[in-house]
């Protein structure tokens, strides 16, 4: 909230929590870098954290849109298109994932443009409902276009994460879990840097102004729809890239999985629980909640362990509407 108390004004530079959170950011990244060394013998832990980092990237991508106050319940559409786009290009055309992953992001951006044309005139609740409905369209098309997508059978044998070559030196990211972990980690760090940059730029301020009071924002000369579309497209692009990474990481996708409610719900839940008006919040929530779910609730309750996400979302909405990271920083 923009308030005019002197305390808030002094804190203005810390708006996004990056300065105050520098220590926690540093420690967090350090822990993530050293994690593979600490758990060398345990592939499962590393696998969970690879997924947690991917979901954290997904939540960051979601939050490009979330910062403007819009809530999307349909990001699985971009995720699925990204996953299918990259998987099909590499399977059918034999292209390297280095090429197909960004292309998948572009496919998702195209879809984002369509969503933008239909939904950007909508606000608040109606935007959320429209995105909720929109997922069904790419899902049903993917499900039925047997000739291209092999329908509901899904795609198997997707190539793993690519190899990076520089002269004689090369590293194969698909070869081991540790290597894929570092690739996803690199993607996460790049995205985090980009999110920080965007959120602290004029665009971030504009999006925040739109969230607080759209009419006032328009009155001071912010192109509301242009910025909303831009944030939607960026969100779609990186969600698509995350979907593509997921496809090459897991190497098996099917429509019900990648277009499922799960991938719409999870980034939204992480962003809201972490604090959708903060930079780090969504990522922290993903890196905490997903491992908690996998290490504690999954062994206890193999069926229905995801009730954790529902419960956390309800508690956040009732008691901490700004998310726990937002709460921590204001405390």
């Amino acid at each position: 909230m923009i308030q005019s108390t002197s305390k808030k004004t002094v804190q203005y530079d810390d708006k996004w929590g990056i300065t105050t959170d520098k220590t926690s950011l540093f420690l967090g990244l350090l822990a993530l870098i050293t994690l593979p060394l600490l758990v060398q013998t345990n592939d499962y832990i590393l696998q969970v954290f690879t997924h947690a980092l991917l979901l954290a990237s997904l939540a960051l991508a979601w939050n490009f849109l979330g910062i403007s106050g819009s809530i999307s319940l349909g990001h699985a559409a971009f995720f699925g298109v990204g996953a299918y786009g990259s998987a099909l290009l590499s399977l059918e055309q034999g292209l390297s994932p280095w090429l197909t992953i960004p292309m998948a992001g572009l496919f998702a951006t195209g879809l984002g443009l369509m969503v933008g044309l239909i939904c950007l005139r909508l606000r608040g609740a109606y935007f959320a409902l429209a995105t909720l409905a929109f997922v069904e369209i790419p899902r049903v098309i993917t499900d039925n276009w047997d000739a291209l997508t092999r329908g509901s059978l899904g795609l198997v044998g997707i190539s793993g994460l690519p190899t990076l070559r520089m002269g004689a030196w090369h590293v194969d990211f698909g070869s081991s879990i540790t290597a894929s972990y570092y690739l996803v980690f690199a993607y996460f760090v790049i995205l985090l840097g980009l999110v920080t940059f965007v959120f602290r730029s004029n665009m971030g301020l504009a999006l925040q102004a739109i969230r607080e009071e759209e009419i006032a924002a328009e009155a001071v000369g912010i192109h509301v729809n242009r910025y909303r579309l831009l944030s939607l497209l960026m969100s779609a692009f990186f969600t698509g890239v995350s979907g593509a990474c997921y496809a090459h990481l897991v190497r098996y996708i099917e429509p019900g999985l990648v277009y499922g409610l799960h991938f719409s719900a999870v980034p939204m839940i992480f962003a809201i629980c972490g604090g959708r008006f903060t930079i780090l919040g969504p990522a922290v929530a993903a890196l905490v909640l997903y491992p908690v779910d996998q290490f504690i609730f999954h062994p206890l309750l193999p069926a229905g362990h995801e009730f954790l996400y529902g419960a956390v979302l309800i508690l956040t909405m009732l008691f901490m509407p700004n998310g726990f990271w937002g709460r921590l920083r204001n405390a």
Partner: protein
């Protein structure tokens, strides 16, 4: 063939009317979008299934139990919703999305992911009228939706209570100024909504396989019909339900069953694209 499509479309539409009524009423009076609506329906279906299968209850007697279960949950839900801050509509979507995940996973835990169906043989029997065939199930759905709409009509338009409900739907603040207990009206709407869900749920289990994640589709149907019909218009709801039902039957015949799931989504998006401020149509949506 066309008459068959017509009959199945109308009966499906009548069922959708039953599915949507509770959602529309709760939304109209309290402005809460209850995205857990479909999950509640499936839960009602599961509780009926459980009674019918494990305790060999006659199917008709499962309704009171299902209604009771949903009533209790809805009253709790209303407590949650009433604690939300502005913007109520958006926050209720997020909150009820969490509730939906919670219920879905509880059902997965209690009833597993297997497909269940309440088989009532008599509903699949039927009779021929020259040209087409009607099953008793289709007739039941058709008349049941009409009867329930009739009861709701009498309640809403012929009683003092209904007048208060309609006033709350139209203008909450003005209704409160006129001395209507708006909070009580909200509770009442949740109760009536719960009864409607408890009636529709077991029927859902008869004509549709029950599995934990199927509620999402019913939620989408309810949203589409509510937005199509507008708030507090019972006649439009039945029209919207029939149109959706017919559109789905035609899609199944013309394009194949797997395209059906897209119909309500496309319809909803079209509606929203042309009425961007939603059903209320004036000013901010």
């Amino acid at each position: 063939m066309w008459t068959t499509i017509l009959v199945s479309g109308i009966s499906l539409g009548s069922f959708y009317v039953l599915v949507a009524l509770g959602f529309a009423l709760i939304f109209g009076v309290t402005r809460n979008f209850n995205l857990a609506h479909g999950e509640l329906l499936v839960l009602a279906g599961y509780s009926a299934y459980w009674l019918w299968k494990a305790w060999a209850f006659p199917f008709v007697l499962t309704f009171p139990f299902a209604i009771l279960v949903i009533l209790l949950i809805c009253l709790g839900l209303q407590r949650l919703f009433s604690r939300l801050r502005d913007p109520i509509e958006l926050n209720s979507i997020v909150l009820s999305f969490g509730v939906a995940i919670l219920i879905q996973n509880s059902m997965l835990f209690c009833f597993s992911g297997d497909y269940r169906l309440i088989r009532i043989p008599i509903l699949n029997q039927g009779f021929h009228i020259p040209g087409f065939y009607i099953s008793y199930g289709q007739l039941t759905l058709f008349f049941l939706s009409l009867i329930i709409l009739g009861i709701l009509y009498v309640l809403m338009y012929r009683t003092y209570l209904g007048k208060a409900l309609r006033a709350t739907i139209q203008e909450k603040d003005a209704a409160a100024l006129a001395g209507i207990n708006v909070t009580a009206m909200g509770t009442l709407a949740f109760c009536i909504g719960a009864v409607l869900i408890g009636l529709a749920g077991p029927l859902y289990g008869c004509i549709h396989y029950l599995y934990p994640s199927t509620g999402h589709e019913a939620t989408l149907v309810a949203i589409t019909i509510t937005i199509f019909a507008g708030v507090g218009r019972l006649g439009s709801i039945i029209l919207a339900g029939w149109i959706l039902g017919l559109a789905e039957s035609f899609t199944v015949v013309l394009c194949g069953a797997s395209w059906r799931e897209m119909v309500s989504a496309v319809l909803l998006l079209t509606l929203l694209a042309f009425r961007p401020h939603g059903i209320l149509g004036k000013g901010e949506g």
